[in-house]
């Protein structure tokens, strides 16, 4: 099951913990992977680790010209983009009353607008091929909201609305568009939290632990697979039982 041999996959934010795990999982299933991110060094390390079928494609998602060129670069490197994983995201947390326009604009631009622009370019050849997978990585806070993250939660909820609408438009063309919404995931970012803070977070999670990047990657692999062809417009929540809806 979940064999991606012969498929090409572009993963944004592949320099991060979750993005790296997604790239590894798709690659392990046989896909050729395009690793995108702003920091080139970790992408090169990951590509070296993966060996064959891995391409480093640096891109700054806050630069629209770079975003518009990414699918073209990825297609030149891999021969196409069958699977697009919009994983890259940034946060600029602040109380809403103190949130500046820049905090709002930059988070919406990188998290939501780049998803729209990359999807728009990638979907043309997918329509022609009558096959495609778009997986957008959102967040539990897109469903629940989170104090201090009005911009981030709005962007993530926006990705859900975008995905559902696009899913309806292209469903007859063999293209699925879905979201994976991680809860608290153990990454370099959460490693910095002190033990009390970690315990406080875990107490809110029925599974009583943070998730792993590999657990997010497994959900992405499923939605990218042939087997998930009848699943579209949905959000797969991977959060240890937080925020059941």
């Amino acid at each position: 099951m979940f064999d991606l041999t012969g498929k090409t996959a572009l993963v944004t934010g592949a320099s991060g913990g979750i993005g790296g795990a997604i790239a590894r999982a798709l690659h392990a299933a046989g896909a050729t992977v395009g690793l995108s991110g702003t920091r080139e060094a970790p992408l090169q390390d990951l590509a070296a680790d993966l060996g064959d079928r891995a391409h480093v494609l640096p891109c700054n998602l806050s630069d629209r010209a770079e975003v518009d060129g990414l699918i073209k670069t990825a297609t030149a490197a891999m021969g196409g983009v069958d699977i697009l994983v919009n994983n890259a995201g940034i946060t600029r947390d602040n109380l809403f009353m103190r949130m500046g326009d820049d905090d709002w604009d930059s988070v919406l631009e990188v998290n939501l607008t780049s998803t729209m622009r990359l999807s728009k370019t990638a979907i043309r050849p997918m329509m022609k091929a009558r096959w495609g997978r778009i997986v957008n990585i959102t967040s539990v806070v897109g469903a629940t909201g989170n104090a201090g993250q009005a911009n981030y939660a709005a962007a993530k909820a926006g990705m859900v609305g975008l995905s559902k609408s696009l899913a309806q438009e292209v469903a007859t063309r063999g293209i699925t568009v879905n979201c994976v919404a991680p809860g608290f995931i153990a990454t370099a970012m959460t490693d910095k939290l002190d033990d009390d803070r970690k315990a406080a977070i875990n107490s809110q999670i029925p599974a009583a632990r943070m998730g792993t990047p590999e657990e997010i990657a497994a959900a992405v692999l499923y939605l990218a697979s042939e087997e998930a062809g009848y699943v579209t417009g949905t959000t797969l929540h991977v959060n240890g039982g937080m925020a059941m809806s």
Binding site: R124, M127, K128, E169, T172, R173
Partner: protein
């Protein structure tokens, strides 16, 4: 002219699965040939590829009939 019309007709017949005789000058892709809105987007993509031209979104919206398509492509070429 006839060459462009023949090539456009071939694309329309293949994509929409309609009889060649129905693809006449004033035939509307949506009203007469059974296309949905996404089909019209795909037809424009196919025209772009066949003729090596770029059809901007606002121009694409004006291409409603077989005749519109042939005229646009002739004017573009």
């Amino acid at each position: 002219m006839s060459d462009v019309a023949d090539r456009v007709r071939k694309i329309v017949v293949e994509h929409l699965g309609v009889e060649e005789g129905k693809v006449v000058e004033g035939a509307s892709f949506i009203d007469d040939l059974g296309a949905d809105s996404l089909d019209t987007v795909e037809l424009v993509m196919a025209f772009e590829e066949e003729f090596g031209i770029e059809i901007p979104d606002d121009a694409a919206e004006t291409i409603q009939t077989f005749g519109d398509a042939v005229k646009f492509i002739n004017d573009a070429g």
